[in-house]
Symmetry: C2
Subunit: 414 residues, 2 copies
Amino acid sequence: VEKATQQHIKELNRNLVLKILFERSTTSRAEIARISNLTRTTVSDIIAGLIEEGLVSEIGTGSSMGGKSPILLRLEPDSRHMISLNLGQNEFMGAVVNLRGEIREMTTRPVEGRDGEKALKTVCAVIDELIRKTERPLVGISLGTPGLVNTREGIVINSVNMDWRNFPLGPRLRERFSMPVFVLNDCQAAAMGEYKYQGDEQHTPNMIVVMAGHGIGAGIIINGEIFQGDGGYAGEIGHIVTVRENGLLCRCGNRGCLETVASARAVIQSAESQAMVTPESVLNKQVGRITLEVLEKAFDAGDDLARQIIIHAGHALGEAVASLAGGLNIDKVILTGMMTRFGQNYLEAVQEKAGKNILPRLRQEISVELGHHRDNEIILGASAYLASDYSLLLKPVGARNNLWEKEIWQGNSL
Amino acid sequence: VEKATQQHIKELNRNLVLKILFERSTTSRAEIARISNLTRTTVSDIIAGLIEEGLVSEIGTGSSMGGKSPILLRLEPDSRHMISLNLGQNEFMGAVVNLRGEIREMTTRPVEGRDGEKALKTVCAVIDELIRKTERPLVGISLGTPGLVNTREGIVINSVNMDWRNFPLGPRLRERFSMPVFVLNDCQAAAMGEYKYQGDEQHTPNMIVVMAGHGIGAGIIINGEIFQGDGGYAGEIGHIVTVRENGLLCRCGNRGCLETVASARAVIQSAESQAMVTPESVLNKQVGRITLEVLEKAFDAGDDLARQIIIHAGHALGEAVASLAGGLNIDKVILTGMMTRFGQNYLEAVQEKAGKNILPRLRQEISVELGHHRDNEIILGASAYLASDYSLLLKPVGARNNLWEKEIWQGNSL
């Protein structure tokens, strides 16, 4: 139940103005008034407030349309910074991101073992390092992690790569850093990243981003927002779509899950076992030490076995895409994750099945493309999720300052 | 881009009050003010307007909580009527529905052949008859039809049972009856019906309603609204989920679609061909004239063949449910359509696979139940869709009056 008060209206209007500023590289008060239908006075008041906050600046005059030349306005990309992390399988990657999704600083730390508290320490070390690297006011911290996440409460229900079970990652970090913290599933974060930073193309309201790596998952964007489902697990397609009856046993306990055929782990396993009995394959000599890199080299060199395994994985993924994108009637599908290193031939295998296992009427509409941000889409998506809460932009946390205060207060040595 | 003006706020506040009135059988100005956070004066002004419109009435005083006894208010169920139609396979069913989803009048007409213009005439005849049967102000007309529908423009892209291709059903009816007309896909309408009229249970924001009849489709409710997808085809799962490789040829041109295993048409076909070679089945003597009724009788009598066919259909549907509900992480699934006549045993077959082909973590959460409104959910859903546009409630069309005017104007004999 939403209340419509004067305060609420002021916020709605300000958010509308911010939205217009975010969507354009430059604009003017007159243009904002025209697009928003707000009065010139209201727009001027809001802009004055945003300039005072440092979020907007005047950058000269534009070309006149007959009357007075308009003063050009733009959102100040570096007026706020965000800390975003991608808690990957083997390493944690962190970045300082500005309001335009530009990465200003970056750092990575390797992760060894599955110790949950140790992993939390590494997360904190990454954040500390990044906070030290920026002097801008901070909006907050956002993280993308594999596994099941309760985003509302910031709890990692079940992490794939470390011992986090019902782990209050968000609350713990909020307490430690005294700023807003958001925890997202990595696929959902990647979807947000690909959605928000599509380049100049026309934005459709809906999008599916399928991430095929060690595991397989998807992020579903509905009406411009991440759809998380009842428990936050929307897009967990890796263990749902049973592509083959009597298929391989999956780590989840079922048989023939999509992950047993189409994940990076699956193709390596398949290569290991088949290469042994395929002397004509270049992989035969590498049995025991086949990695994704080795497989890629063989694939690029035209090795039949490598090709067959990868195309098979692509077909299986294509069937899952057909099922999800077809069932939701979402036309735009983006493919990302480690498996995309197999490039155009792999993409075409996915496209082939995604286009075939679908109602004929819908075939011509669906498009499957490779992602635009390869290694950064999780970080970009997590920060975009943070920036989309405009109220946080107006209540930033002093960066360096804040740390000093905390240091004194908590007695931490940072 | 949304404008927040005084007028807009007035509308938001009024809609908020209407929402509270719709959700409660009785309430009071004080309760509305408490729930909405609106001032008593604002609430009183809005209620005065709604009473004047006839939408709300005072129905006595409630029990006092210490102070003055509050005047009880309620939404007047029959202050507005809606015309809703279910354009079924063999007959068109139409009803006059009130604001509480109570059916006040009902009529059906058989449909023969596939002639599109003839079908339109039948639709108009049903509407004419229903308009004549009510004297209440009308909100508009809403229809649920099988096939692909562009709801925004009211165009039937592709009807399953008649020759409507890119047929402007909405615009044609709007012109003929001079009132708002909404055209929905039948599964999407059914989903809305089951969602809006769940009884007293806690409302979850999301729900999937799977309709298994001649064809198979689903309606997906996200955040309380029908999710239609990019083209309006969301939920068209009948031809997407390939349950069996090298399966039967489907009318869509693919092989092994869900409809070739789990639809009413499929189980009848399967019974016909298998009964021929199964002398021990009671169906053997009925070859050539097996209907769903015949199959139901055999199933209820414990005939092995009938049982095997129906359970097989239930399993296939369960796999599709697992894929859709699991991929979206939507826990509440409602089963409806002709196939539900096979009752509890059929439901359990669906539940079995829906619970198995899913990530273990999510199994305990998912619930598959039979629908509550059997034959009426499409009509109820279509009318609920109409009533959810509160602005239409305040701009109703005179019923009988309007007809008379049209009669003179168009020279129609009604």
